[in-house]
Assembly symmetry: C2
Homo-oligomer: 346 residues x 2
């Protein structure tokens, strides 16, 4: 147990420089500093936390380059990576948090962090599920799937739903939400192991390995009547193949475009005229805008998890030292399910 | 005056073959046949009309190629071009129409046509405006502007609106609708004459010649705070430039993509990731789906026209013989305002 006020060592994963192309493990470095386990007296509203679980998410690629005027700030070279995580509060200057609270939200890739503005840090109330779930299904990824599917896709029973990067943290949930609603659900993924997971673990009706298929033909085969809802996680060629296979008045929720994040110049998408011929609505979204729905989301998802109606697969990396490889791995599709890094198990 | 039952000559504009690349006048040919000015006894539900005004519209390019599974049928090589027009009924087998009714709707590019299924033919009730207006502002183009702007763009007073191909039949109206609502409105067009028209005739706040500008920089100059609403008529590079200049929660109504219609392979659009960062909604539409709103539209627009609050500019070509050049011209931007062909002035 940490002693308040004690000075301890603090391992950190530091971003060395802004990254171009695919990120590499060597873009990050492990450093060991020290931290005093007490907030200074003038730390009004800050909290000091011990990090337990860290989340590896595709959007983090954007923060590894110099961006201006984007929806999230760039990381600072020389400082720790920042991301979602689960942590325990050791000291608090914020009225909403007290010592020993469990929380999830934006934290640093280090053993201990001072979170200066914990406005988007959520207190964990339900601890009868694995705590790591708050890095994904009960955190940002879960809210992303929930908001993107229910708020943007206007889903109806019996509709035809396609999800790319479907075995990832968000995709696996969207597919299960769609199945619960009585939709026909197909997912794509990049290995046969993931395809198997989609069909046999998450209950997708069909799934295919996008690396082994002509995308347009595969979609035509799985959706002879067209796609009502496309949950977009990848962009590029897949989007082009989807556009020609959309159904009249289809909807595309644009959640991410991971296939484009490591390119210098994004690929061109050629089939946008289909938006007109099929009267398709395509809408981008960011989970930040929907966090006010978090309590409602929990009310919905917790019973489903407890009753086993929703399954969740994590890919766990042990130790902060393994974090760079885990993060780099998601851009090569190495993770099977939600990529989590364990920093400490309390 | 035509005599019922008389046999008369009937000039027709025939599509010779399916077209690739830019259409040429020589893709069409004038032929003169004959027609008897009376419907055969078994022509239940058909009407026989004398064509007065014909409309040249960008969507017609699509019908000049072999298409399957599209929202409109391809033209038939060897048969007359089909398009919107204003006509007078000479004989009717349909309960909704009688001799001497004035109508607008899909008709043939010929002096006299038999319209077999006049379900989408509208009877003209208001004749105290130029009849040619029913090929545009009071017809398909007007309904397109109305539905696209009010139904898809969710416009609000004070918002920043950009319209491409803004001096065309649809664009000039969308801009004026937006001005009536109190929006800031900028349009692009392809000649300085059209730019002048936008600013000095249609009351746009600003306009620019897209051929003389770096598109992204021009949009940044005219929209330092970004674009709330983009009414998309052109696609391609303009869409890419717009995407990076969209404002948070902007809306894009996708009406057409005329810059792409004559290309073998559409250009790639690279900046779709902006849909996510700006939470943009992009939606395609086709006017067919909104014709039930036509009476409501007329109630709105006719008083505006009579009071001079809405201006309308037509580019009139005289005689059916001039129709091929007029149609070809719209894809080169030769028309200034709505392109109409006069077949007969009654």
């Amino acid at each position: 147990m940490e002693v308040v006020g004690e000075e301890v060592s603090n391992k950190q994963i530091i971003l060395k420089e802004y990254v171009s192309g695919f990120p590499k493990e060597s873009d990050m470095v492990l450093k060991t500093g020290t931290i005093r386990l007490q907030l200074p007296d003038d730390s009004k509203n800050a909290i000091l936390v011990k990090n337990l679980y860290l989340s590896c998410d595709p959007y983090m690629r954007g923060r590894m380059r110099k961006m201006e005027d984007s929806y999230v700030e760039s990381f600072t070279p020389g400082s720790p990576i920042i991301g979602y995580g689960v942590a325990r509060v050791l000291d608090s200057g914020h009225p909403n948090f007290k010592k020993d609270d469990l929380v999830w939200g934006m934290t640093g890739w280090e053993e201990y962090s001072v979170i200066k503005a914990p406005e988007n840090v959520f207190k964990i109330q339900n601890t009868n599920v694995p705590l790591s779930y708050y890095t994904g299904i009960l955190g940002m990824a879960g809210m992303t799937a929930y908001a993107g599917f229910y708020e943007l896709c206007s889903p109806k029973q019996g509709e035809y739903v396609f999800i790319s990067a479907a075995s990832g943290a968000v995709g696996q949930l969207v597919g299960q939400f769609a199945k619960l609603l009585g939709c026909y659900v197909v997912g794509s993924a990049g290995t046969n192991e993931k395809v198997d997971l989609l069909k046999n673990k998450f209950g997708f009706d069909e799934a295919f390995n996008y690396k082994e298929e002509d995308l347009e033909a595969a979609l035509k085969r799985y959706f002879p009547n067209g796609i009502d809802i496309y949950f977009e996680n990848v962009g590029g060629k897949m989007l082009d193949a989807v556009l020609v296979n959309m159904r009249l008045r289809g909807r595309i929720a644009v959640c991410g475009m991971i296939s484009q994040y490591n390119l210098e110049q994004p690929e061109g998408v050629h089939n946008l005229f289909c938006l007109i011929t099929k009267r398709v609505r395509m809408e981008g979204f960011i989970v930040f805008d929907y966090y006010h729905m978090y309590p409602k989301f929990l009310d919905m998802i917790l019973p489903h998890i407890k009753e086993g109606k929703i399954t969740y697969v994590e890919d766990i990396a042990e130790g902060l030292e393994s974090a760079p490889a885990a993060l780099v791995g998601i851009f090569a599709g190495h993770n099977v399910g939600k990529q989590v890094v364990v920093v400490a198990r309390e």
